[in-house]
Amino acid sequence: MERIITCIGCPMGCQITVTLDEAGAFQSAKGNTCKRGAEYAKDEVTNPTRMVTSVIAVEGSKQPLCVKTARFIPKEKIFDCLKEIRKAKVTLPVHIGDVIVPNVCGTGIDVIATRHLQ
């Protein structure tokens, strides 16, 4: 199986063709101009991850609270993560780094506040 990945390392944006075996394991990459491209393409086909950032409405505050996942989470969990963020209840005051959703979607990663809110 082959997949085409656009590299994000630089403005070149190499179109890297990644070959996977039947079990979905990484076999080879071609079309990359540098080493970083091959590594990125491998990660992107085997375990794509993203940091998710969003906001939550907070009772008693005109401004919503902005949050992020403390680390990158698997890409396929982005929308489930957003659902859990939306359901979170927040009580003031909040400080940067406070845990808002612990262990989001069973990833072992917390959603934390990225601003102070009084």
Partner: protein, 422 residues
Amino acid sequence: MREIDVLIIGGGPAGLAAAIAAKEAGVDNLLILEREDKLGGILKQCIHNGFGLQMFGEELTGPEYAQRFMDRVEELKIPYQCGTMVLSVSPEKVVTAINPVEGLEQFQAKAIVLAMGCRERPRGALGIPGWRCAGIYSAGTAQRFVNLEGFMPGKKVVILGSGDIGLIMARRMTFEGCEVKACVELMPYSSGLKRNIVQCLDDYNIPLMLNHTVVDIAGRERLEGVTIAEVDENRKPIPGSEQYIECDTLLLSVGLIPENELSLSAGVQLGRSTQGPVVDETLATNVDGIFAAGNVLHVHDLVDFVSQEAARAGACAAAYVQGKGAHSSEAVPVEEGFGVNGCVPQLIHPAELKEPVKFMFRPRNVYKGARICVDIDGEEVLRGKPHMIMAPGEMAAIEVAPELFAGRDTIGKVTVRLEVRA
């Protein structure tokens, strides 16, 4: 009239870094004026990650990045006044400002750092025909609504222009349940970062339509849809290529313009290619004692570079009020050669350089294998390594050591240019 040694106009990333540097250089009588209710500038609404890799070696969100500088401002007890709008700056450095508590106030500054940032190009600058209905916003305005005010501008979205704010908003609106139908770009390439194209558009199957633009807007009261068309090599719509997209929201991400009304009131000379002040290597403008840094000077890609530049401006403003800023030589103009646009600084004092001078600019086009070269009076003195790729969307820079200017009686001009492999 209050007397202030270093007055900083703007409390965003540039203003904060300039104030911290001025204070650390020994200036105690300084003040930041900020028109919004809080410090932090545009970073407050940039809730996505990607800030701080250069400065802190970690990936922060905008509010977190700003907070680090705000904490330092508090720690150093740097005075600031929020909710204060500067109305004018005179060439004598009298700053007139207004706020709801003090009313009209005037300050006599010894030095000023201009750190007002930039603003988005509006619809009026584009000349799109069609109705002037509700539902058309600049991407940054929509970002403010969604991230700071907590309400949504619409449900079905088309984005015109593929600048980074537009791309970021494509993902943001998708996260909040909107349908983002397309990102339409006039040019054959996006001005946004590759990372944002992949992670904000491709991840969510949002089409990026290059060589396309909006040619009509439908809807009397509220936007109902836009007509887009393909453009030819002269950027003119190709008849017959029109298609209608139903939407209730059009976001514009079509460029940023340094905000220099105050600079002009002070008599600061602006450069044509940057649309910001003309400065020398100390970030000094043509008006004695007025310095400029950050997006008011030239629009940056990375806030980290804004902070670094502004810290220099703050330190140089401090040196100026401490009597260490006088020039002993004539300034030499820096010329933009082939492929170079918006080069800063525009002037240098070669005889006074104690550290390398960094020229920052935007490539005029997409170039593969280009080198940055520096000439003194037409003679090549520096030849950079070839870059695999250069594009207008990513600022380029080259540092020139002071020694390269040594041993010359007079220098007429310095040229920064690109050399493209034949």
